[in-house]
Symmetry: C2
Subunit: 386 residues, 2 copies
C-alpha cells in the first residue's frame, strides 16, 4: 500500500424528506446564491422546495449552468457573488452544477490577475485560497462532486480540472427521491460514470490494498446488480438509494487512498465530449473496453482479479478470463442502453487525428498510472474503439 | 436503506515515516499535552520520536493511562489541561489512550456541576461542548478511536460510552511500523475487536444497503486473510498496513451508515471486562458465537449472507450453513490464539448471576438492533458461552 492522506469533511445528509433540514444547515444570516442548471429543477419542483426550506433568507438565483459547464457562463455568477456579497453558495443539480459552483467559489475568491489562470493552476492542491461555504442538493447520482473537492470546467474547446481542499461542500443533501424524474439515459450515464470512476482507481497495478480493492469491487458488484433495475424502476426507493450512495462513494477519496490511479479513460473521454458533444458517461463506455484491450499486459494482474471477483469468471486460461471480463463489461454498458463504439455516435476513423491533436494540445502525451501511455497508444485505443 | 447522516472530518495521515510531519499538523504556538499509556511508547522510542517532531513547542507529558482507562486517572489530566492552559491534546497509543484523551477533552471543557455527570450524559450527541483540537499517533490497530468521535471510560465497576461530534481527532497518524513491536496477543485482540465492530453493524436484519454490506464483508474477508499472517510476520509492512486500515474503517461510521446496529456483544463484553478483567477483544470472541447461536432466527437472513459471502458456504440447508459459519468464526478466533469460552478464563456457571446483575444495574435489559434481547436471553447466551 502506498502512503496516503485521507481527508473528507463533507457532511452527508442522506434519505427521504431531508430537504426540509436545509434551513438548519446554513447560517441564519447568510445571503445565499442558489445555482442550478436547466429547467428540470424548476419543472419538478425541487427549486421551490429548496426556497421554501430557506425560509426568509436573502437569496439570489443563478440558473442556466449547462452540462460541461462553461467558463463564460460561470464567470457571470462570479460577478454576482462579488457584487452582492454572497455568503453561501448552494448548488442544486448534478455534477455540472456542483462543479460549476466550485469554480465560481474558486474564482470569486481568487486575487490573481487573470481568472483563466485558474484553469491552468486551479488543480494545484498547494494553492491556498479563501472560499465561501458551499452546500449541494443533489439531483443526479454520477460524478461524486457532492463529496469531493474537484470539478471539471469547459473553456476554449478543452476541459480543465480544478481541485482544492477548500472546495469540499460543507454538506450535501442526497435525497434519492429527487432523482426519480431523471430521464433513463441520464441514469444510465450515471451508472457508467460511477463504474468508470471505480475502475480508474482499481484496474491499475496491484499494491496489496485489500480494503480499497474490496470496496471498489463492492461498488462494481452493486452497480451490476442495480444498474438496469434502477432504469426500469426509477421510483423504487431502495434500488435508487443504492445507486446514489455508490456514486458518492466511488469518487470521494476512499477507494483511491493508497493505490495507483489511471484516469486515461476520463482524459480521452473529455476530448470526445469537447470535440463531438458526446455525453461524458457515453465517452467512458466507448473507451474503457478498448483501453483494456490495448493495456492488457500492463493491467494483467488487476484485470484477472476484476474478472474473478466482479464477474465470477473462474475457469479458462488467463487471457480468456480477461477477454471475457472485457466483453461482459461492454455488454453491461450496452444493457443500460449505452452504445460502446465511436461509430454508434457517427464518429469515423478519419476523426482520430483530431482527437490525437487535441490530446497533444492539452499535453496528454504520457497518461495512465505508469505515465507510459503515449499518443501512439491513444491512437491504437481509438482505432479499436471505432 | 435507512436515512442517515455521515460526517467524519478526521484527517488521516497514513504510511511509513509520517511521524515527522507532526510538526506541520499542529499550530506552531500551541502548548501540547502528550497523553500516553504504559511504558511501551517509551521503551520502543515512539515518544522520543513524537517529541523530536514537535521541535521547540511547549509540551507537557501525562503517562499512565491504563487499559480500560479509569475516570480517576483521567481526571488528573483534566486538572493539568486547565491549570496549564493546554491548547492541543496529543494521544500517543492505542484505543485506551485515545478514548481517555477524548474524555479529558470533554471534561476539561465541561461547565456542568459534576464531572461524573459526563458519564451519564456524555453519550449525548446533542450536548454542545467546546473542545480543544486533538490529534493521535496510533500504536495499536483495534478500536477505530483514531477516526471516530466516541470512547469508553471505566468508572465505579462500569464502562461508560462517551460520544460527541466535537471529539473527532483533527488528525491521526497511522504508521503501521509503529505497531511492529506489539505483543502477538494484543494484535490478535485487535483483529477480533475489528471483526466484531464489523459484525455488530452487519449481522442484523437486512435493509438492502448494498455498499455498506459489501464493505463490511470486504473488511471481514481481509481480516480472515491477514489475521494469522500479521501475528506470525509482525514486521511485514503490507500485511500490517492492511490490518491498520481495516481497523480504522471498521468503526468510523462508514459501514454503520443507514443500517441497523446491534452492539450486544460489546455491552455484555464490557461487563466481563469490568467484573473479571478479561481483555476487551477476548470477551468479544467468547460472546459472539454464543450470541449468534441464540439469535439465529432474528438474524437468519444476514447470517446466511455472512455464511455465503464471507465463508463461501454455498451448499447445505440454511441451518447447516449458519451453524458452519458460526463454527468457522470460532475457529478463526481460536486460530489467532484467542480462546472462545468463558471456562478458558476460569469463569464458571455460578458467575452468570453476577454478570446478569451487572447488566441489570446498567439498564441493559433490552439490547440488540431490535431491543428485544432481555436479561433472560443474556443468561442463555452466557450459559452457552461457558
Amino acid at each position: 500500500m502506498k502512503n496516503f492522506d485521507f481527508y473528507n469533511p463533507t457532511h452527508i445528509v442522506f434519505g427521504k424528506n431531508r430537504l426540509e433540514e436545509l434551513d438548519s444547515l446554513i447560517d441564519k444570516n447568510a445571503k445565499v446564491l442558489i445555482l442550478y442548471g436547466g429547467g428540470s429543477v424548476i419543472k419538478f419542483g425541487t427549486l421551490d422546495k429548496v426556497k421554501a426550506s430557506l425560509k426568509n433568507r436573502k437569496i439570489i438565483e443563478f440558473g442556466g449552468i449547462e452540462p460541461n459547464p462553461k467558463y463564460e457562463t460561470l464567470i457571470k455568477a462570479v460577478e454576482i457573488v462579488k457584487k452582492e456579497n454572497i455568503d453561501f453558495l448552494l448548488a442544486v443539480g448534478g455534477g455540472s452544477v456542483m462543479d460549476g459552483t466550485k469554480f465560481v467559489n474558486l474564482a470569486a475568491n481568487y486575487d490573481g490577475e487573470k481568472l483563466t489562470d485558474l484553469l491552468k493552476y486551479g488543480f494545484s492542491q498547494a494553492l491556498t485560497i479563501k472560499s465561501l461555504p458551499m452546500g449541494a442538493v443533489v439531483t443526479l447520482p454520477a460524478t461524486g462532486s457532492e463529496m469531493n473537492s474537484g470539478g471539471v470546467i469547459s473553456y476554449n474547446h478543452g476541459k480543465h480540472v480544478i481541485s482544492n481542499p477548500a472546495l469540499f461542500p460543507k454538506f450535501s443533501i442526497l435525497d434519492p427521491t429527487l432523482t426519480f424524474t431523471l430521464p433513463a439515459s441520464q441514469v444510465a450515464n450515471g451508472v457508467v460514470d460511477t463504474f468508470i470512476h471505480v475502475v480508474e482507481q482499481y484496474v491499475t497495478y496491484p499494491v496489496n490494498a485489500k480494503f480499497q480493492d474490496r470496496v471498489a469491487e463492492g461498488i462494481l458488484l452493486s452497480l451490476i446488480e442495480i444498474g438496469r433495475e434502477t432504469i426500469d424502476n426509477p421510483e423504487d426507493y431502495n434500488i435508487r438509494a443504492n445507486l446514489v450512495w455508490c456514486a458518492t462513494m466511488a469518487l470521494n477519496g476512499l477507494i483511491g487512498a493508497g493505490v495507483p490511479q489511471d484516469w486515461t479513460t476520463h482524459m480521452i473521454g473529455h476530448e470526445l465530449t469537447a470535440l463531438f458533444g458526446i455525453d461524458h458517461g457515453k465517452t467512458l463506455a466507448i473507451l474503457q473496453p478498448a483501453i483494456w484491450q490495448v493495456r492488457k499486459e500492463q493491467k494483467r494482474e488487476k484485470l484477472l482479479q476484476y474478472a474473478e471477483r466482479v464477474w465470477d469468471i473462474k475457469t479458462g486460461d488467463d487471457d480468456n478470463k480477461i477477454d471475457l471480463a472485457i466483453s461482459k463489461t461492454r455488454d453491461f454498458f450496452e444493457s443500460l442502453g449505452v452504445k460502446t463504439h465511436l461509430s454508434d455516435y457517427d464518429i469515423t476513423a478519419e476523426k482520430i487525428d483530431d482527437i490525437i491533436n487535441a490530446l497533444e494540445n492539452h499535453g496528454l502525451t504520457a497518461m495512465s498510472e505508469t505515465r507510459d501511455l503515449t499518443l501512439e497508444i491513444s491512437r491504437k485505443i481509438l482505432e479499436i474503439a471505432i
